[in-house]
Amino acid sequence: MLLKYKYLLSVFILLCFSSCFQIIEEINLTSAGSGTVNLTLNLSASKTKVASVMLMDSVQGYKVPSKQTIQKELDEVVAYLKKSPGISNVQKKVDFENYIVSVSFAFKDITNIDHVNQNVLKKLKIKGLNNSSYTYNPKSQVFQRSYQHTKEAVAEYNKLKPEVKKVFKDATYVSIYRFEQPVVLCTNPLAKISKSKKAVMFNTGVLGLINGKTDISNRITIAK
């Protein structure tokens, strides 16, 4: 799933020089295995810098995309999602005032998201980063997120210019999974369970994901 963000990030990454951003992933899963996804990229905390960068054609050797380019790329993502099997009700929201972009959609089965992921990766010709997947077993009521850190992520990061690296310093990644039934067991000690016991949240820095210091894999058992 993280890679889909990369698709969006490919546009936005250049915008937030020496500032921070927030990635939010929300998945609502029904007991039957269908559900909805909401992905948000929030650059609001660095909107003044983004606004000034957007006035330029390129910055530090990187091409700055225009509003039109960003819209177009987002439309492509939406069009692709609409065509994907098992995906429906695709919606996008762009707030150029605060630089917040979000995409939401419904899925029939959690494996649909994995397919989307892999295809996006193929389309972008990114190798070695297909390291995250979701599974849900309605019988055992176990939701699993597998995640394996790859050295390629660090290698790609190390290739960036120091000014761009700074962008990731304060960037955060929030992941929320909501279920219909209470959570019985959650294996990742960094994850937090809500009062209702029906939601699990993971809030971490993006840099930890890049350098492999943070593990976001999780196995969540839901009450039958």
């Binding site: 927030q22 939010i24 929300e26 948000t40 929030n42 609001s44 905390a45 660095s46 909107k47 003044t48 606004a51 000034s52 005032e97 605060n98 917040i100 929030v174 929320i176 909501r178 809500s194 009062k195 209702s196 029906k198 939601a199 699990v200 949240m201």
Partner: protein
């Protein structure tokens, strides 16, 4: 016996004194050196004794590094074997076929110098009283005796070795033919006294060349070359260059070179014994051509009209000073004189207050003269290749631009005054999650952003265009009218800009109160005679007070109190920095940069070392 011993001691002492006083090797530098750098060891030692330097932070670190590298203990720089109280030189000698980077140092003890090369893989050979060191392909050679040490890095020129006649003469092949060959400027190629062609004739048969002493590692037979044609060629070229280097160094030590750099008036005039370090360049254009192959330049002469130049470093009791000067050809100098005729508008100074000011940047050029001269300068650079095109472009440039009208709108002088940093609160959207089910809620948060605080002024005789722009801005609600000044609103930016036009000066700044004061004649000026002179007598002037900036940087910008404290400590230890150009003298343009040193520091050298030590803490 006793008297013999005493005589011997006396003789030894006399000779030692004589050597240390007169060991200036400048006369050994050939007259055709393109560039010469000098370090005056004596001046440095006057500022700091060797014992003090050995015990300084930097000294200890250097000695430790050196000891680690050589595997032998070094406790003092004296052990290096050089006469540290005499000048050290670097010079560049080049011709159409080879470039020599030469380091020339005065020797006190040849045996001690040997220790520098006393590592397992570095062999020294001795011939008479001269010691030799060669690297694996003999393109880096050191030679020394009891008086002097010469280290040469020689590089053959690719273009020379690509010439068909040269390749034929040396029996070189071309494994990767160059598709696009560019004719070499014949005048430039014929420049040197060490003309490679004349030397090269002696080495037309590389396989039979006898190079260097028997125990040197110079490749001297064709069989020793690599079987790969590319590497064979490279090896062959290196051995040719090595043989030239050998010849050059033989001549150097034999003293057959009759004309020294001391015959060059420009060099003698520009070497200041008081400067701790000097770099002198005989011709900036020549040096540029040496390092940048003519094939890259495609015949353009970027530095045509640039002559000799020099940079000097003075470490004084009260300041560190760097001066630089450059000689230009008559026509380029005439352009600069015309363009530099303008002086900074005196009335700018009415709005400068030194109590607030952290730094400034002022410049004054004549816009009209600049616009008129610009096409001519371009044609000098590109004209040799694109004479027709440049001619047309220059005419079109003059036709489209009304130089005089532009010169009235922007006269060409401006002053930027930096008054510090300020913080402003900005709001942004974020999310909060309830504890119950982590449902997200959009919330507005605030954070502080650091903004520069500045005032900029420029002269304008004709403000009609700007008046129209302001009227248009007001109509489109991009510009808000204040009392006698305007506010420019920049969407999404926390930075507010205020501007006004008064007395043919356009003011642009970030401080509303300051702009209000300017508009209503309430500005209080405060400027010292020193700053006034700097600004009014120079075409370019800049000033920065690091001390005034310390304590004004918000800790958020530096990521923590510890880093802030360190930054403030370094800023506090820096003196005021000045930079300015001098009025032109003949065809020479010059300028200088200086930094005051704090009163508690004995001199600039000790102060510099203390800064390095402080920054490393």
């Amino acid at each position: 016996m006793n008297s013999f011993y005493r005589c011997l001691t006396a003789l030894l002492l006399i000779s030692l004194t004589f050597t240390s006083n007169a060991q200036d090797l400048v006369h050994k530098i050939p007259a055709n050196a393109l560039a010469v750098a000098t370090i005056q060891g004596k001046n440095l030692m006057d500022l700091m004794s060797l014992t003090e330097f050995n015990n300084s932070f930097l000294g200890k670190e250097l000695l430790a590094k050196h000891a680690k590298k050589s595997g032998k203990p070094f406790t003092t720089f004296m052990d290096l074997g050089f006469n540290l109280a005499s000048p050290f030189y670097y010079y560049n000698q080049s011709n159409d076929s080879v470039t020599y980077n030469c380091f020339l140092a005065p020797v006190k003890d040849a045996a001690q110098v040997e220790k520098l090369y006393a590592q397992a893989d570095q062999k020294i050979s001795l011939k008479g009283n001269v010691r030799y060191y060669y690297n694996s392909d003999s393109t880096e050679v050191a030679r020394w005796n009891g008086e002097m040490f010469l280290f040469v890095i020689a590089r053959g020129k690719k273009e020379y070795f690509s010439k068909p006649e040269v390749m034929e003469r040396f029996g070189l092949t071309n494994p990767y033919p160059i598709a696009d060959t560019v004719a070499i400027d014949s005048a430039a190629a014929a420049v040197d006294s060490l003309a490679a062609d004349t030397i090269a004739v002696d080495y037309s048969e590389p396989a039979t060349v006898e190079i260097g002493p028997a125990d040197s590692v110079v490749v001297d037979t064709a069989e020793a070359y690599s079987p790969d044609p590319f590497f064979k060629n490279e090896d062959q070229k290196k051995s040719i260059v090595a043989s030239w280097t050998q010849r050059m160094m033989d001549d150097f030590f034999a003293g057959t070179n009759k004309t020294s750099i001391l015959n060059n008036i420009d060099f003698v005039k520009n070497v200041d014994a008081k400067a701790e370090a000097t770099i002198w360049v005989s011709g900036v254009d020549k040096l540029f051509d040496t390092y940048v192959p003519t094939s890259y330049l495609k015949g353009f002469s970027f530095l045509s009209g640039y002559g000799s130049g020099n940079v000097k470093l003075y470490l004084e009791d009260k300041s560190i000073r760097i001066t630089s000067s450059m000689t230009f050809s008559d026509d380029i100098a005439a352009v600069f004189k015309r363009v530099h005729k303008r002086k900074l508008n005196k009335r700018f100074l009415k709005y400068v207050n030194e109590d607030r000011m952290i730094g400034y940047l002022g410049y004054a050029v004549d816009t009209k003269a600049y616009l008129e001269e610009y096409p001519r300068l371009m044609s000098k650079i590109y004209g040799s290749v694109y004479a027709d095109e440049i001619g047309m472009a220059a005419d079109l440039f003059s036709l489209l631009l009304d130089e005089e009208a532009i010169g009235k709108v922007f006269k060409g002088d401006a002053l930027f005054v930096f008054n510090g940093l300020s913080q402003k609160e900005v709001s942004y959207k974020s999310y909060e999650y309830n504890e119950e089910n982590f449902e997200s809620k959009e919330v507005m948060k605030t954070k502080k952003e650091t903004l520069p605080d500045f005032l900029m002024m420029f002269s304008s005789e004709d403000t009609r265009l700007m008046d129209k722009l302001i009227a248009y801005g007001v109509k489109k609600e991009l510009v808000k009218r204040g009392s006698g000044y305007y506010e420019l609103s920049i969407p999404k930016s926390p930075l507010a800009l205020y501007f006004t036009i008064k007395d043919n000066i356009v003011f642009l700044g970030t401080n509303k109160m300051e702009m209000d004061d300017i508009a209503s004649n309430r500005s209080v000026a405060k400027i010292s005679a020193k700053q006034k002179k700097m600004l009014l007598n120079s075409n370019y002037a800049a000033y920065f007070s690091a001390k005034k900036l310390s304590g004004k940087i918000p800790s958020e910008e530096l990521g923590g109190a510890e880093k802030l404290e360190k930054t403030n400590r370094v800023l506090n230890s820096l003196g005021d920095i000045y930079l300015n150009s001098n009025p032109a003298k003949g065809n020479v343009l010059s300028g200088q940069m200086s930094m005051d040193i704090p009163a508690n520091q004995p001199n600039a050298l000790k102060y510099l070392l203390s800064i390095i030590e402080d920054a490393k803490k």
